[in-house]
Structure formats: C-alpha cells, structure tokens
Symmetry: C2
Subunit: 202 residues, 2 copies
C-alpha cells in the first residue's frame, strides 16, 4: 500500500525505475490533494458568522467531497495494481500455441482493468471539480488561493488519468470497449477544461 | 515535518480546517511528483540498448532533476512554516502604539518570506519543466504517458505556487518587492504554459 508510505518514500518510489507507482497513481494523488484543498475551504467556511447563509450547502459539499477524496486515495494503490497485472500477463509463457492464446487473452483482460481504473480516477476527479466554482465564489475569502490550487490540481489529475486511459486503450483489441472509453474521456476532458477556466483564468 | 507523514495522513491534514498545510505545500508536492515522474522516465531510458545515444544526456538530466525533486520536497514543509509565521505575526499584541508598529512590521516581514517560498517553488518547478520536452521526445517510448502526466503536474505546481505568491504580495506594503515578484511570476507563468503545450496538446 503506497498510501501508507511517507511522502518522502512515495516520491522516492515514483522516481525509481520500477514502473509502479507511475503516472496513474500520481494522477489519483493530484486529484486527492485537490479534493482535500476544497474540503479545507469548506471547513474554513462552515459555522463562521460571515458565511452562515452558505453553511448548510458547504456541509453537503464537504460530505460529498470526503467520499471522493477517500475513493481517489484508494485509486492511488488500485492504479498500481492494475498496471502490475498487465506486466504480469506479459510475463506469461508463450511456447505453445495454447500458451500464446492464453497469454494474449490475459493481457487483453488486464488492459481493460488498467484502462478502467484511470477512467474511474477521471470520473471521480471531475465530480470533485464540479464543486470548485461554488466553493471558490462562496467560501472563506481568505482561502481563495487554495480553491484555485484545487482547480489546477484536479485538472492535472483528470488529464493525467486520461493519458493513462489512452495508453492502455491503444493496445486493446476490443474496439467496442476502446471507443466507449475514448468517447467518455473526451467528454470528461472538455468539461474539466471548461470548469477550470471558471475558477482560474490561468 | 509533513513529508515524514504517510500520504493518508497528509491528505487528512490538508483537508482539516488548519490553514497549514495549504495550497502552497500542495503545489510543492505536485511539482515534486511531476519531477519524480520525469526522473522515472530517465531511469527507464538510461542504459537501454535502444536508447544508448541519449543515455549520457539522460543521466545529466536525471542528476539535475534529483536536486530539484529534493528541493521541492523540502519546500512542502517550508511553505507551511512560512505561512505559519504570518499567522503568528497576526497574533502579536496590538494594545500600544509601539506594539502596533512592531506587529505591522513583523507581519510585513513574514509576508515577504511567505511570498518568497512559493516563488522558489515556481522557479524550481519551471526548471524541472524545461527538461520535460527532451525526455518526452527521446525517452523510453513506453513511458510517454508518464512524461505527459509530469508536464501537467508541473504546470499545476507552478500555477499553484504563483497564486500563493500573489495572495501574499497583495498585502505587501513594500511595492518595490511586490512589483519585482509579480514581474517574475508573470514571466514564469508564460514560459510554463508554453512548455506544457509542447508536450501535451491538452
């Protein structure tokens, strides 16, 4: 479990030549951090006199974001597992025709999982990002820069996850699944870029 | 030291209503992760037969990036210290005219430090980002998505750091320092956005 490691250790592991953790886990971390920053802003808003009118709404948002944050944190480890499974499948024996067939099938099955994990990262991250404009506009004014950092980190989490969907989908033989995934990530990307622009004009 | 904490604990701390760690530390983390991913790509390239022609150059880049990564990881904690000092200064007594003067001066001094730490994050992150196009184009083809994730995470680290420079500079009375910082972050932003586009067409 990488998420039980210290930040220092995670950074060290990420830099190493081991393929996991890699860009998918990094994307989930980026979105988990972005989501946490928005939760912080809700925490700095809820119950304050000046923000009494938005307190209930902020509490609702906070509850939803805590679920997203926990999902995204789990996805840091899940992405590494998904990619490890692909590498394991590639190591299967390929001496006989039967083995070759079984290996190809194992690789293809592992690739679907390896693509679906970052797709889930992108989905959950987009859900977090959708709350950012409201919190940015109505939350504690002293935390306005934190909301902006959240927006850019959720953008990286989403785009990073999308690059990981794309790379796995590229090798998929089942083009029906591939096309469905590509269609979904294209929609997510478009929406994410639009929402980020609502919060930060770069 | 937040960086000795587990990722789980860091995420928890970030979400809490404590103002530190906040967006500045998150930005340093984003850039540290982005830098680590590019180091991983150099590690997956150096010494491989197919990449023998770029091995020396990749080793050089790796050495430079390891220094940046370690700086950025330290800046996660340093940013929180810088912001804590501003909050401490605000808590100084302000009963007498003398106290008021000393407090204002302490706040102003702390703000310069609190702005200079994210400025350093932005500078080091931009230096990391400058290596990404070369590694992206010449590094191990299997790690191309990791280089793209690195680019977007360095962009967030830089923009996030810039928002933190801006928020601290806003309250600075010394407009000479303020203008100098703003001039530098504007240049960094422009360059960062240009380089990210070389690697990812979003």
């Amino acid at each position: 479990m990488f998420i039980e490691n210290s930040i220092n250790e995670f950074i060290e592991e990420l830099s190493s030549k081991n393929a996991v953790p890699g860009g998918g886990s990094a994307s989930a971390l980026s979105s988990s951090v972005g989501t946490s920053l928005i939760i912080m802003v809700t925490n700095l808003t809820i119950g304050r006199k000046k923000y009494v009118e938005v307190s209930d709404k902020m509490q609702e948002i906070k509850n939803a974001l805590e679920i997203n944050r926990d999902k995204l944190t789990s996805l840091i480890d899940e992405d590494s597992k998904g990619y490890s499974a692909v590498m394991d499948a590639f190591k299967l024996p390929k001496d006989t025709e039967e083995e070759k067939l079984a290996r190809t099938q194992a690789i293809q099955e592992a690739l679907v999982v390896a693509a679906s994990v970052p797709l889930e990262i992108a989905r959950v991250s987009l859900d977090s990002l959708k709350y950012v404009p409201y919190v940015f506009e109505n939350g504690n004014i002293n935390a306005v820069s934190d909301a902006k950092v959240a927006a850019v980190m959720l953008r990286s989490g989403i785009l990073g996850a999308i690059y990981n969907v794309e790379i796995n989908v590229d090798s998929l033989k089942n083009r029906e699944v591939a096309d469905k995934y590509i269609e979904e990530i294209n929609k997510i990307r478009e929406e994410a870029l639009r929402i980020e622009k609502e919060v930060v004009n770069v």
